[in-house]
């Protein structure tokens, strides 16, 4: 922080107390501003500052170091580079979220390449890259490795297009790399031993290495050596090709770990390791976050007992364990704040969680068998138990086959701090299990009582009444996901007119059409995107929107990549978003931009 200038604006030479001569008030102000702005970190504050006046805009642009772009097509790389000159960290998001569920064709877009090239020349001092749902090629990774000598952190979430070949270039060239996190990416197996490509001499600065999503075997000996020479390593998430015996060896090498992804947590054939089960996890006194368990052998679960009391986060969502297997573990996790699991633990398992985890903030229950015909392993009983036991709950994702309004209402009353509420009743159009009524009242209670709610995902049998509630009470809702719900256009109208904070709207298979869509004309420029698929929107309706809102990019396409984007009378997928730089140049043939 440079010294505070106390020179008075407009004073002549020799009268100032600072080291420099600043005759013009604007420059003084800008310099002061720059020194102050360094402390402003949040985007919201910085965006506000930049709107004050030109000089503040310039000062802010000069001092912003963290760049966040929520939609890579909202702005061109060139525009970004022209405005911000001193970026150290970039976060970029690409494909719409429904791409996770196979609703977006593979070659739709979100290519990182143009950004990589632009930043390679403009932001040579870049230190951190965070990408989500982008298509990243091995060449992109090579460009990153060659262009950014100072790169410290690379985090790729839900990305695809690259493989172990690209990884090997990153780890061998980026000498300052401290964080390499691969989270739910699709990584192709190029049959390259990338772990061996880390520099083999001297201590490494590695603080975080997460590769649990990499679906290929790794050179364990090389990994062990790497871990042994990484004294700063705090986060280590292994993939399922690491056995429990190998895990044990690693924990001996890295007792300082705080975040551990256990790999398979099972034994492999020929793994003769005599495991001293008590010792291994007792060495990990600092572990607060545990995940992995990709191919769990449940009889080894007691190995984690020594760390349970310290755990704030436990992810068992790959472990098919039942309530009886869970209970001895969860009963010790008094400090748990984040818990992810499969519904195999059942309502009984959830009751055990509710009994012990009084500090729980986030719960995610995934379906063991993600099918509409599957037996429901958790129900309103588990949800109710959680709502009673875990009053501090802030975020919930809950998959189930059946639900009741009463349980959802109870949760809205018991857990007023809920910020994220995502309930997925897997059976489409299912009403309240006991009363046979639509689930309107339950979701209505959530938006009404959870005053901090910003993210909502609805399901089950819902009429327009549910949407009326959401529009009326969901004033802070920024993200809304709708699937197989609603009666008519009125539902969509309620949402678009009522939810003044709405940023991201994703709707599928609901009877919303052109009229409903029209009611959002006043708001679409304020949103990051709108997705409507398998609804009742016509091409003409989309064209109307595109004409009335020229800065909106209106994309229409079909999942099977048939040109034109229409199926029968309606558009199959509508994806629209604001953009400062017009329609993208890289749209594939099957994407029609209106």
């Amino acid at each position: 922080m440079s010294k505070n200038s106390t020179s008075i604006a407009g004073s002549g030479p020799g009268s100032g107390t600072g080291d420099y001569f600043t005759p013009y008030p604007d420059e003084v102000l800008e310099n002061v501003l720059e020194n102050v702005l360094v402390f402003l970190k949040t985007r919201r504050d910085r965006n506000a500052v930049s709107l004050v006046c030109k000089s503040w805009y310039r000062a802010e642009a000069y001092t912003r170091s963290d760049l966040f772009i929520g939609n890579c097509y909202a702005v061109s790389p060139q525009r970004v580079l022209n405005r911000f000159k001193r970026i150290r960290s970039v976060s970029l998001k690409g494909k719409p979220r429904f791409a996770d569920f196979s609703l977006v064709p593979a070659d739709w877009g979100a290519h990182f390449t143009p950004w990589a090239s632009a930043m390679a020349s403009g932001y040579r001092a870049l230190e951190k890259i965070y990408l989500k749902r982008m298509s990243v090629t091995d060449d992109d990774l090579a460009m990153i490795a060659h262009s950014f000598a100072n790169l410290k952190e690379l985090v790729l979430v839900c990305c695809d297009g690259f493989g172990t070949g690209g990884l090997s270039v990153i780890v061998s060239q980026c000498r300052n790399l401290r964080v390499l996190e691969l989270n739910e990416d699709e990584v192709s197996d190029d049959e390259i031993d990338w772990i061996s490509c880390f520099p083999s001499e001297g201590t490494s600065n590695l603080e975080s290495l997460c590769f649990d999503c990499v679906e290929c075997a790794i050179n364990f000996d090389a990994l062990e050596r790497l871990v042994a020479r990484s004294p700063l390593l705090k986060k280590l998430r292994l993939n399922r090709y690491v056995s429990i015996g190998q895990l044990y060896r690693l924990t001996l090498r890295a007792p300082q770990l705080t975040h551990l992804g256990t790999g398979s947590f099972g034994q492999f054939e020929g793994d003769n390791q005599e495991l001293d089960s008590r010792a291994s996890f007792a060495a990990c006194k600092s572990v607060v976050c545990l995940s992995g368990f990709r191919e769990i052998a449940p009889e080894y679960l007691p190995m984690i007992y020594p760390v349970c009391a310290n755990l704030t986060s436990l992810n068992l969502s790959y472990a098919n364990i039942n309530a009886e297997q869970l209970k001895p573990v969860i009963r010790q996790c008094h400090k748990l704040q984040v818990f992810w699991a499969l519904d195999s633990i059942g309502d009984e398992g959830l009751e055990a969680v509710a009994d012990t985890c009084k500090d729980l903030r986030e719960l995610r229950i995934f379906p063991l068998n993600p099918s509409e015909n599957a037996e429901g392993l958790v129900s309103e009983v588990g949800l109710l138990a959680i709502s009673i036991g875990c009053r501090k709950l802030e975020s919930i994702l809950y998959f189930c086959q059946r639900m009741t309004n009463a349980a959802v209402v109870a949760m809205s009353e018991n857990c007023p701090n809920i910020i994220v509420f995502r309930l997925c009743i897997i059976g489409r159009y299912r009403p309240d299990r006991i009363t046979g009524q639509p689930m309107d009242e339950g979701f209505g209670a959530i938006v009404k009582n959870c005053k901090k709610l910003t993210r909502l995902a609805i399901s089950g049998l819902l009429t327009d009444q549910a949407f009326s509630y959401i529009g009326q009470y969901g004033k802070l809702v920024r993200t809304l996901s709708v699937a197989f719900n609603g009666d008519s256009d009125t539902g969509l109208k309620y949402i678009l007119e009522g939810c003044v904070s709405l940023q991201k709207l994703e709707i599928r298979d609901s009877p919303f059409g052109d009229m409903g869509l029209q009611s959002g004309l006043h708001h679409f420029y304020n949103m990051r995107f709108v997705w409507l698929s398998s609804c009742r929107v016509t091409r003409q309706g989309c064209l109307d929107i595109a004409t009335r809102l020229p800065k909106l990019v209106v994309e229409v396409f079909r999942r099977d990549e048939e040109e034109g984007g229409e199926r029968d009378d309606f558009v199959e997928t509508l994806y629209m978003y604001r953009s400062l730089d017009g329609p993208r140049a890289d749209a594939p043939q099957f994407v029609k931009i209106l």
Partner: protein
């Protein structure tokens, strides 16, 4: 071995006419033509994309969708694929009794040890000192499934077999004629 003359023993339901060009011991997950469907392994759970035949719910008013549902429920692909693997891997050893007609005592084998039907049959052959499946053999391996029915070994995919097999019996003699296996 060819089957056209009808004398060769094959592992398939009797009366089946079509040539079995593909060995029924191939370790594949596809349901072949004559398989009985096992309720727990309908297409819904095997398909990794999660598309399912639309099912009418009990009290709904909305029409059933006409086509299969892609991307529903909203669970990412890699989570779905894991489910299949788990059904088998969480059990530590699947021991079943094996009896052979005429033998004085039973044996026990661990089905988990074998990767597929060929290995299993070889093991049985070694254990009981007999040969299953060459021309003229009078032995047919059968098993009792979860429903209590006696089935011919080899009809269903391997993964389905090892979780539904309660015990095995090597049949001999007249009951075995017309059955058998084609390794």
């Amino acid at each position: 071995m060819n089957m056209e003359d009808g004398l060769c023993l094959t592992l398939g339901l009797p009366g089946r006419n079509e040539p079995d060009t593909e060995s029924c011991y191939k370790n594949n997950n596809n349901n072949n033509n004559n398989k009985r469907s096992q309720p727990e392994y309908n297409d819904d759970s095997i398909e990794s994309k999660g598309s399912s035949i639309a099912k009418e719910s009990d009290m709904d008013t909305a029409p059933a969708p006409k086509s299969q549902v892609v991307g529903w429920p909203p669970v990412r692909n890699y989570r779905r694929i894991n489910f299949q693997a788990k059904k088998v891997e969480t059990e530590s050893g699947i021991y079943v009794k094996v009896s052979m007609d005429g033998a004085p005592y039973l044996r026990k084998i661990d089905l988990k040890v074998y990767k597929g039907y060929p290995e299993l049959l070889k093991a049985l052959e070694n254990m009981f000192k007999l040969t299953i499946g060459y021309k003229g053999s009078e032995y047919a391996p059968t098993y009792e499934d979860k429903d209590g029915d006696w089935m011919l070994v080899g009809d269903v995919p391997w993964e389905m077999f090892i979780v539904s097999c309660k015990r095995m019996r090597i049949m001999k003699g007249s009951e075995a004629k017309g059955l058998g296996c084609n390794v």
